[in-house]
C-alpha cells in the first residue's frame, strides 16, 4: 500500500470526532423515534413519529446525503414499522421512496430558499402519508378512517419548520463532518 507523501493519517481523536459527526443524523433520528414513544399522553403523539422520520430523511438527504445512506433509512423504516403496528417493511419502502425523490431533485432544491423547500416537503409528505394510508388499507383489506391521515398531514406541514430549525443548527455544528 503506497501513501501519498503529503497526506497524513489523522489522529484517533480526530477520527472519532469525524465518526460521531457522521452518525449524528442517524443517531438523532433513532433517538427521536424512541423519545416519541414515551407515554406523555399527548394527543396525536403516534401521528408525529412518521412525520418526524419523514422530516429527518428529507432534510438530511437534501443537505447531507452522505450521512444518511439508504441502508440506514431502510433500517429506520423497519424500526418505525415495528414500533407502530404498521405492516413490516411499509415505512422502509416509503422512506426510501422519499429519499430517492429528494436525491433526484436535490441539485435544484438545495439552492432554493426555506419557503420553497418547506412547500416541497409539504407536497412530498402529503403524498407519502397518502401512500401509507393506501398501502395499509390495501394490506389490511379495509378502508381505514381518513381523519388520522389528515392529522398526520397537518403535523407534517406544521412541525417541519421546528424540526428544520434544529437540523439546520446541527448541520452547521454537531453534524458537520468537514469541521472535524
Amino acid at each position: 500500500m503506497t501513501r501519498l507523501p503529503m497526506r497524513r493519517q489523522p489522529s484517533i481523536w480526530r477520527q472519532l470526532d469525524a465518526a460521531s459527526r457522521y452518525i449524528f443524523p442517524v443517531g438523532v433520528l433513532v433517538f427521536g423515534l424512541f423519545l416519541i414513544g414515551m407515554p406523555f399522553g399527548l394527543p396525536g403523539q403516534a401521528a408525529l413519529r412518521p412525520v418526524y422520520a419523514m422530516a429527518c430523511v428529507f432534510f438530511w438527504s437534501l443537505y447531507r446525503p452522505a450521512s444518511l445512506p439508504a441502508p440506514f433509512v431502510a433500517t429506520v423504516g423497519l424500526l418505525l414499522d415495528l414500533l407502530g403496528l404498521t405492516p413490516l417493511g411499509m415505512w422502509a419502502v416509503l422512506l426510501l421512496l422519499l429519499q430517492g425523490v429528494t436525491l433526484l431533485s436535490r441539485r435544484r432544491l438545495v439552492a432554493q430558499n426555506f419557503l420553497t423547500v418547506w412547500a416541497v416537503f409539504c407536497l412530498l409528505a402529503t403524498v407519502t402519508c397518502g401512500l401509507s394510508w393506501a398501502a395499509q388499507s390495501l394490506l389490511t383489506l379495509r378502508q381505514l378512517p381518513a381523519a388520522p391521515l389528515a392529522l398526520q398531514m397537518l403535523f407534517a406541514v406544521g412541525f417541519y419548520p421546528a424540526f428544520a430549525a434544529f437540523f439546520t443548527r446541527a448541520h452547521r455544528g454537531a453534524a458537520a463532518v468537514e469541521l472535524a
Binding site: 414513544g37 414515551m38 407515554p39 399522553g41 413519529r49 403496528l85 405492516p87 417493511g89 411499509m90 401509507s132
Partner: protein
C-alpha cells in the same frame, strides 16, 4: 478498508438505494406471507427497548405522582377538595358494598355456588405508548416472575375497567392492544338483562357497539360488562357505560382511563384461553410416530 476502483465505487453508491428499495419490498411481501416473522421481530425490539424506556419513564412517573399527566401538578388544591368530597361519598358506597357482599355470600352459600377459579395476575408498568396512526397499543414492562408464554391473550385492566388484551409477550415486555384499536372486538353483555352485543374499536376514544338485538336497543347509561361468548373473555368484567353519540349509534364510554395509563394488571385465565385466541408463537408439535416393533 477495501480499496475499490472509482467507477466500481460509484456504481455501488448508485445501486444502494434501488437495492435497499427492492429489499424492503421483498420484506413487505415476506411479512405479509409470514405474520410470525413480524411478531418475532417486534417482540425482540420490545424486549430490547423496555429496559431503556423503564429507565427514562421512571423519573417522569415520579414527577407526576403516578397520576398520568404532568399538567395535574398545577391544580393540586382543587383536586384535593374534589378528592375529599369523593372520599366522603365513597365511604357511603363502601358500607353499601359490604352489605351487598355479605348478602351475596349468604345467597351463594345457600345455592351451593361454585366460584370460578381465581386468575393469576401480574402488575406491570406502562413504559411506552407504541401505537401507530391506525393502531392503539402500549408497552408494559413485566416483572421478573411473569411467565411470558401464558401471557399472550391475557386481559389487561387498570384500576377501573378493561384496557385491552396482550397480543405479544417477550421476556421483559408485553404489548397490550387497547380496546380502542381498529382490530379490537370484545363480546359484551349490556345492562341488567345481559343482552349480547359486540364492542368494536374505531381508532377513536370511544369504541362503538354493534350487533345488539334491534328489539332491545342498549339503554343510555347502561353498564357494559364482558361476556363469555367466544371464550376469549371471562364474564362480568367491567368495560364501560353506554352512551348515544347520535341517533342509532351507541358507543361505550370506557371506565379505564385510556388516555393516561400507568399501571396495568394482566390477568391470565388459563381455562378460557385456548378457544379462539390467536397464539402466534405456539410451536406446532410435530407428530411422533413410534416404529412398530418387528
Amino acid at each position: 478498508m477495501l480499496r475499490l476502483s472509482v467507477p466500481f465505487r460509484q456504481a455501488i453508491s448508485r445501486l444502494t438505494l434501488p437495492v435497499m428499495f427492492l429489499f424492503s419490498l421483498a420484506l413487505m411481501l415476506i411479512g405479509r406471507a409470514d405474520q410470525g416473522l413480524t411478531d418475532h421481530l417486534r417482540t425482540g425490539i420490545d424486549d430490547a427497548l423496555a429496559p431503556a424506556y423503564e429507565l427514562v419513564s421512571g423519573p417522569i412517573a415520579a414527577a407526576e405522582h403516578g397520576t398520568g399527566a404532568i399538567g395535574q401538578l398545577f391544580n393540586l388544591a382543587s383536586e384535593n377538595a374534589q378528592l375529599r368530597a369523593e372520599n366522603a361519598s365513597l365511604l357511603q358506597w363502601q358500607s353499601v358494598a359490604m352489605a351487598l357482599a355479605a348478602q351475596n355470600n349468604a345467597l351463594q352459600s345457600s345455592l351451593h355456588y361454585v366460584p370460578p377459579p381465581a386468575p393469576k395476575f401480574y402488575t406491570g408498568e406502562v413504559v411506552a405508548d407504541l401505537g401507530g396512526v391506525y393502531s392503539r397499543s402500549v408497552l408494559v414492562a413485566l416483572p421478573d416472575i411473569a411467565k411470558p408464554a401464558g401471557l399472550i391473550g391475557a386481559i389487561a385492566m387498570d384500576g377501573r375497567g378493561i384496557v385491552g388484551r396482550v397480543v405479544e409477550a417477550g421476556e421483559r415486555a408485553a404489548r397490550v392492544l387497547l380496546i380502542t384499536d381498529l382490530n379490537s372486538r370484545v363480546p359484551v353483555a349490556l345492562g341488567a338483562s345481559g343482552a349480547p352485543a359486540l364492542m368494536v374499536g374505531t381508532n377513536g376514544a370511544d369504541p362503538s357497539l354493534l350487533y345488539w338485538s334491534p328489539g332491545s336497543p342498549p339503554a343510555e347509561g347502561a353498564m357494559v360488562l364482558t361476556s363469555a361468548v367466544g371464550g376469549a373473555f371471562p364474564p362480568g368484567l367491567p368495560v364501560g357505560i353506554v352512551h348515544y353519540d347520535s341517533q342509532n349509534h351507541p358507543v361505550v364510554l370506557p371506565l379505564a382511563n385510556l388516555a393516561a395509563l400507568r399501571l396495568l394488571r394482566l390477568f391470565s385465565y388459563p381455562s378460557n384461553l385456548p378457544v379462539l385466541t390467536p397464539i402466534p408463537h405456539a410451536a406446532k408439535a410435530a407428530p411422533r410416530y413410534r416404529k412398530p416393533r418387528a
